[in-house]
Amino acid sequence: MTFLETLLQQSPVLIIATPLLSAFLMPLVSRIHAKVRDVFALVVLGVTSCFVGLLASDVLSHGPRIYIFGAQNLSFPLVRILFEVDSMGVFMAIITVMLASIAVVYSWSFLHQQDGLDKYYTLLLLVVTSALGMELTGDIFNFFVFLEISCIASCALIAFWVDEGEALEAAFKYIVVSSIGALFVLFAIGIFYAQYNALNIATLAHLLQFTFLDKIVLAILLVSLGMKAGLAPMHMWMPDSYGRAPPSIILIIMSATLASVYGILRVMFTLYGNVLTTSLRFSLPAHVIIGWILIALAIVSILIGVIMALVQTDLLRLIGYAGVAEIGYMFLAIGTSIVALGTSYATVALHGGLFHILNDALDIGLLFLVAGAIYYVTKKRSLDDISGLARSMKFTTVFFIIGALAVAGMPPLNGFTSKFLIYESVYQVNPILSIIALLGSILLLAIFIKVLYAAFLGPELPELKDVKEAPRSMLLAMGFLAVFAVVIGLFPNLVLDTLVKPAATALLDHAQYISMVVGGL
């Protein structure tokens, strides 16, 4: 066996172990020099990205892989912790490492010479570890452990600017909401374990009977993971923490949030994949009922997101509400694909939803970084206090325009492709849904045009006379996201064919996921 093959075989665990080990090396490394610490964080994420790339190229061409902890072969599938990596997990892992690397580059200048940066990088790498763990694991209890790590580490990161009281309040709200969510996930896992004596996702999916308890578990998992993902009635932590955390952190928390969206997808399509078509009541199949619930929540998310964003004056909070609306679009697509399970437009909707996960990370991330750059140079949060910034911050203005148009789904940019896929598939379920989705996009465009006029155009304020362009590393980070947004917008098939479609296929093909582990059982 060559070295590369060994590396490939071990890569699922190395993806987790590398950031985890370096997270705890970070306090020691940062004693050497601040520069060494900054570079070390990026190098670690670079190495992790290499492993993710290696694993992705193999999984996309040769199908799912499993990794067994502490044993060579799968003799006791019920007691071993497994990592099961398919195209979906790989797709999410790529998004996570990309967001994390960009956040590290951005925070070089953004948090320059602030206190406690060794702990900052430690927590950042821990959140990355937890998000990657949630995406690669094949064990539902393991999923819970990583979920809990992400809760605690993100809470500490949100309170990074602890001298502002509101950051502390946002962090407290976050830890309350996400701990309750995580504890309910644990409760649900307990019910599973009591019934089936198994914790492995594939084994559970194989054994699942869809008893009354299983229906309760499904509801609990949907609600608690939806809470972590920021779905509408449970979205209240999201604008608060996105509005108060340092913007480089927001990218990291966003990757943890998207990992929760992945959790819902895994629960719906794989864990309950076998039983979705059984009829519940009034001869309605389960997937229709669950799908419509998801669609209803998604519509509420979109409406609340855009309407609340319309009235905000705090730029970071405004983008946070836009993020809620974007989560709504993802769930609209996911709900549609569940309602119409088996039809061709269900697959299209799933493509749109998965593609939108990537596009949301790029667009909303870019807007947060732009808002962070504005905060960095002016030290002001409110749109009322800033004006005419385009004169001094040319690059940032261009990046903002790209981000705003992409979020609104304007044609040459990446948001258009995924939203178009969502519109055309949702239309076949009910045209009204498609109209609401379009209306949401139009409102998002209006909101960001308003921000463009308020912040970048208009008269120059006397107190903002000596404002300079953001530092180079922040521009670099924003530039990366903007270039990705434009390139994916111009050549959507590049990503759609290589990453999104295999991911959707892997999700819909739950039989393969199960047979990888259960096999002979």
């Binding site: 985890l20 080990l21 705890f24 970070m26 067994i68 044993a71």
Partner: protein
């Protein structure tokens, strides 16, 4: 605190330490392990804090050194996992069990006395977790003592 409390703490402190270290070391044989034993040791340190007051403890303990120990505990744990990858072909592979060397004896079956020299990498992992928990919990206690010693906050 009074002389009575200080003397009692002086007597109890070594016993608490030994019991905590015993729970850590025998984690693979008896109930308990790294976390539980570490919590016992850290509670012994809390005893000192109560008896001698926070200024005395702040003078004698450097929080930076505790933070280093905490990192070292976590690094040790993951390193053992990675050593399993190198010597046992999988992450967390138990490469010491049954090897005859350190912690490598295969335990006898049936009703025998507990053999300490068993368990492979498990005792090592317990030691790593123990170091981390002792340092981590003690830092938490110190921070709480420090916060409550600031009068302006109240």
């Amino acid at each position: 605190m009074t002389k009575i409390v200080k003397t009692t703490a002086n007597i109890l402190f070594p016993f608490t330490m030994i019991f905590g270290l015993y729970v850590i070391a025998h984690g693979h044989l008896t109930p308990g392990g790294g976390f539980q034993g570490g919590a016992i040791v850290a509670s012994g340190c809390a005893l000192l804090l109560v008896a001698y007051g926070s200024p005395w403890v702040f003078d004698h303990i450097k929080d930076k050194r505790l933070a280093t120990f905490e990192s070292l505990g976590a690094i040790g744990f993951i390193t053992i996992g990675l050593l399993g990858l190198i010597f046992g072909a999988v992450f967390f592979g138990n490469f010491l069990a049954g090897s005859g060397s350190l912690f490598g004896t295969t335990p006898a079956t049936g009703s025998t006395l507990a053999d300490f020299n068993t368990g492979g990498v498990l005792p090592l992992m317990n030691f790593a977790v123990g170091v981390k928990v002792i340092a981590g919990l003690f830092v938490i206690i110190l921070v709480m003592a420090y916060a409550s010693s600031i009068k302006e906050w109240s």
